[in-house]
């Protein structure tokens, strides 16, 4: 698992993936997104060499673009993707602790988070926190709603809905 973070600028993905291709690497699943002015890359890379070789191959481009690089050896071949069946949308006045409160309540029900995205938006004086979670749960929606009921009383809007996946 290759992690790269640096100040956002055009050309990061092209330069990194070109360097990886030239080094003989094969790319798999990736998450690449701009977060707070940084560009972040988490990328599954298949490479026959030890991690140190991969780091060396990336060193010139990382130095050139000001990217910090981190590599974790992981196992990861083809696998069955988990399909989310529940989505949770959270909106509230921004304050510390929202994520912990929501996800603790979900974790207590056995909810498995597959994906979490969040943004802070709105008026700088009154920022709003928006979080979108998708995951798997075997509990009925009513039970999840009940588990999160306390948060609503604390002024956080939480909406839980099923994700129906159509197979056709």
């Amino acid at each position: 698992m290759l992690t790269l973070v640096g100040e956002d600028r055009p050309g990061i993905v092209a330069a990194v993936t070109r360097a990886l291709f030239d080094a003989g690497c094969h790319l798999g699943e990736a998450s690449m997104i701009r977060l707070g002015g940084n560009f972040t890359i988490m990328l599954m890379v298949r490479d026959a060499r030890p991690a140190i070789g991969l780091e060396e191959a990336l060193a010139p481009v990382a130095a050139d673009l000001g990217l910090r690089c981190h590599i974790d050896p992981v196992s990861g071949g083809p696998h069955r993707h988990l399909v989310p069946n529940i989505q949770v949308r959270v909106v509230g006045a921004d304050r510390a602790g929202i994520v912990a409160e929501v996800t603790e309540a979900l974790a207590a029900t056995g909810f498995n988070i597959l994906e979490l995205e969040s943004d802070v938006c709105g008026d700088p004086d009154q920022p709003v926190y928006i979080m979108h979670i998708q995951g798997c749960s075997t509990e009925p929606i009513e039970d999840l709603t009940e588990a999160l009921a306390g948060l609503r009383q604390r002024g956080i809007s939480v909406e839980i809905s099923p994700v129906e996946t159509l197979i056709g």
Partner: protein, 177 residues
């Protein structure tokens, strides 16, 4: 006809545009029976289109009746279907027999009206909504050589449209202001 093999991405034949059915005969019935057998043989698919089995004519089967609490028309064989009216849109998650182990968000019309023929060539007009309308659009796309992966939208796009405001007690379609 027996269960047919499903064409899978990146099979180029999935991009082929299918031809209208002209003959409503016993061969059509036999092929439709094979298509239904194929649909039922795989993972729980609510629809299948003829070209997914390498039969490039405009035939789809839909059956979303397994989903509880939704409006639907039961089991449908649609020959030469044509969507003539679209209304509303929403994002929903789709997968496909021809694209194993991948699901993605796709924008589809919420309500549609379509014209089609049945197995005897008799014209039908159907109004569909929600999940059934989504299934019909997904299957009819196959007849035009389109897969849902051609329409997948960014997962983050969903953030911009928060449709259901149940907690506030308002209607389902209230838009963010």
């Amino acid at each position: 006809m027996a269960v047919q093999p499903i064409l899978r991405l990146p099979d180029e034949r999935l991009k082929q545009i299918s031809e209208p059915v002209a003959a409503f005969d016993s061969e059509l019935r036999s092929r439709v029976a094979g298509l239904e057998e194929t649909r039922l043989a795989g993972p729980a698919a609510v629809g299948i289109a003829a070209p997914q089995t390498g039969w490039f004519q405009r035939v789809v089967i839909l059956d979303v009746s397994s989903k509880k609490g939704i409006a639907h028309h039961g089991h449908l064989v649609l020959v030469n279907p044509e969507i003539v009216h679209w209304e509303g849109y929403e994002i929903g998650r789709e997968g496909c027999l021809s694209v194993p182990d991948y699901t993605g968000n796709v924008i589809r019309a919420t309500r549609i009206r379509l014209l089609a023929q049945d197995l005897d060539g008799e014209p039908r007009e159907l109004e569909m909504e929600g999940f059934e309308a989504r299934a019909a659009q997904h299957e009819i796309d196959h007849l035009d050589g389109l897969l849902f992966v051609d329409r997948v939208v960014s997962r983050r796009t969903d953030l911009f449209r928060r449709k259901v405001y149940r907690a506030g007690g308002a209607g389902d379609d209230r838009q963010p202001t």
